[in-house]
Symmetry: C2
């Protein structure tokens, strides 16, 4: 007999067992439903592409994080590390047929050979949505509507979307004589939470600004962060006539007004001129989304507006706006907040099999329940009822349906609520209604 092969996954990769896999599938289905509600259409692109497409010409730098190899045909290929670059290639190739503006969503696996850390894997899922071919307030505001709808559909009620815009900080800093020093400033402001006000003020003074008074004014801008309706007028005062800041404030106000009219809570839209992330990539509005109960996990949905998606592939300018839902991060947050994924079956009902010879009866009853929209697992043989009920409890079924030869002969079923042990004896004709009633009864508290 040959030696056994160890059933291991690669470092940084993982299996997803039924409990968490069910939660992931439900989240993805919910996200897709929201994207579709807003008219975003799915696309698919290959997992494997020419390395040049993903990394650019001479893109050796990002190599160490990219799974890159020579294929059977001698091609230099790589596994996608995000969905943005493949979408840029897709847009460059297909926009003449597909037409603009174009709204797409894409849910897909990406791979990065990063050093594995807690909650970070070398294989993970991205959920992106973008509107390209247009630069409009409508598309910017809609991105905010989609983020709001996504989080709510996923059952998150306590969250805020932090907004910023590339022009805003640049313009405000220019007013303080700090033209072109946004990047250095942001690097220091980013330490505010960890290092504290004093340390940041000192570092700003010494390393970036050169004056304690100006450093204090910079910090004051960062500290204005808050609900957009309150903060935008204060920032407008500081912006004065500075054209970039004034334009950014005007646009942000329009976005917030449209989103408010469409039902996004004003308290949820926070303006924060010191958001750093993505400022080197995005050219307009920027979105980050934080959970009130766990802000430390970072943004769970981030994005922004860009001038040109696909400049590497086409001369056709493709401006756009979009964001990406951090599915794995949101799941990690839920686990950290104590949510468990114990239910290891998508079915609510286990049809036990008491008597193998009457399999046809059990199968027929199960299919009647399915016909009424109730998911039912039939235990796959007639081993001891005790074992079957133990199995039902372990997998967190809600109900078990039981009938021995006597009950079958009499046309009766026992419907057992597993959590309470409560058991009802019902006639065959009432089985569907009885199961439905017990499942409905349980739902509000589920």
């Amino acid at each position: 007999m040959p030696e056994l092969i160890r059933p291991d996954t690669l470092k940084g990769f993982r299996d997803v067992p039924p409990g968490p896999a069910l939660a992931r599938e439900e989240m993805i289905a919910a996200a897709k439903a929201v994207f579709r509600d807003f008219g975003f259409a799915p696309i698919e692109t290959p997992a494997l592409e020419y390395a040049e497409v993903l990394l650019g010409k001479g893109g050796e730098e990002s190599d160490r994080q990219t799974f890159r190899f020579t294929d059977q045909g001698g091609r230099d290929v790589a596994m996608r590390f995000d969905l943005t670059v493949p979408f840029a290639r897709f847009a460059a190739k297909h926009h003449p047929q597909i037409g603009l503006p174009f709204r797409r969503y894409q849910v897909g696996t990406v791979w990065r050979g990063e050093r594995p850390q807690k909650g970070r894997y070398r294989e993970f899922t991205q959920c992106d949505f973008d509107t390209i071919g247009i630069d409009s307030v409508a598309a910017d505001a809609e991105t905010l509507l989609v983020i709001d709808a996504l989080l709510r559909r996923l059952g998150v009620e306590k969250f805020s979307v932090r907004l910023n815009s590339r022009g805003l900080l640049n313009g405000l800093l220019a007013n303080l004589g700090l033209e072109g020093r946004a990047a250095a400033t942001l690097r220091v402001l980013d330490k505010l939470a960890k290092a504290g006000r004093e340390a940041v003020l000192r570092e700003l003074t010494d390393d970036v600004v050169g004056s304690a008074d100006v450093a204090e004014q910079v910090l004051a801008i960062a500290e204005i962060a808050g609900p957009a309706g309150e903060v935008l007028p204060l920032l407008a005062e500081k912006a004065g006539d500075e054209p970039r800041a004034a334009a950014a404030i005007g646009r942000l106000s329009e976005i917030v007004d449209v989103a408010t009219a469409a039902g996004v809570s004003p308290a949820r839209m926070c303006l924060d001129a010191s958001i750093a992330r993505g400022l080197d990539y995005y050219t307009g509005v920027i979105y980050e989304t934080f959970l009130d109960d766990l802000p430390s996990i970072g943004s769970v949905c981030s994005g922004g507006r860009y001038d040109d998606l696909a400049g590497l592939f086409t001369k056709q300018p493709l401006p756009g706006v979009g964001a990406s839902l951090g599915l794995d991060r949101l799941l990690a947050a839920w686990e950290e907040l104590g949510r468990t994924f114990e239910k290891a079956t998508p079915a609510d009902v286990l049809m036990t099999v008491f008597d193998d010879a009457r399999l046809a009866d059990y199968a027929a009853a199960a299919n009647r329940l399915r016909g009424a929209g109730i998911a039912v697992e039939v235990f796959p043989d007639g081993r001891g009822l005790g074992k079957q009920l133990k199995y039902a409890n372990a997998k967190k079924f809600t109900l078990a349906v039981v009938a021995g030869p006597d009950e079958l002969a009499a046309g009766r079923w026992a419907v057992k609520t597993l959590e309470t042990g409560d058991q009802a004896d019902v006639a065959d004709a009432d089985l569907v209604a009885a199961v439905r009633e017990r499942l409905d009864r349980r739902r509000p508290g589920a």
Copy 2:
């Protein structure tokens, strides 16, 4: 300006644009709903595994079809070429925690470096479902129920499931003194459709059987194929006391009886002792599924019972039964049968934007429709109405909703049915009801 990169996909790979991507997503969602209805739970496994796990020890042979490389950490890795081997590894690793019996489904991308052909790609999707840890009629019959439910949920009404069993042909051939010649016999029988009866009879006589009389009897067995209820008694006569054939016929009869009781049409279950595919892998019942309108495309859902899933990884015997839905093949069949995927948006309604200054009104009305479960795309700016309606027609929206400044001031909307040009003028308070009514009216003929 740097030279542009050509936005090409790799040979054998492809982009999926919105129309077909919508169809694929709907199929996958429908398949998952069926799997869940029967209590199959999802799992996920990595796209990338140790090459030894996927190919076995010294598995150089299958290499040319496998995308295999050395990763950044010097590991010999490969991209999965099916979902069966990863499931075997998963089962070996996790069955003590997950418990047996275990029903899983898995929908995932797999990669094979095959020579690309019409309708065959190097990247495709598999939809597998299996019940492991048990050898029972119940699990065999359920596989048939799931196949039946899958096809019907996918909108296929005209199909048949062909059944066979490893023991059946072996036993029947043994009765004719052809012990151990099943493989050679099947190779010749497989040519029946193409080469015709005479040629097959001659080749059977000359190359396999050695006697025209026995060859005629072999052919007669193959020709018995038909509805299981009619065919099984005829095969039982030929089987006589041969133990393998008799056992196979007994088991097949039970499977068909249970499936019939649970609502599978008896006409749909066809017995065919000459099904060749998978006979070297499967040890019990075998399933193949053919479309009545396009049998030439091959089986769209195939599977069977196996003795031991994970013998390479564990000494724990893991018998099981399962099948795999050929998603890409089914889509190819639909295209061949003339179905088109023209609808390039998941939304039914386009909310046109007549006046950019009133964006908040359009966005708010759209969100009211969404709240009623109607997917709505808001055109992302106020360019000419004619352009917006052209866009709506190109993407195959059902309705367009229009209002200029006068209508908005009067609280009125025009609801336009795009196919007919028919237009209704409705009050703001009636908008949701009017849209709903027009969408419902169209549905039966959609």
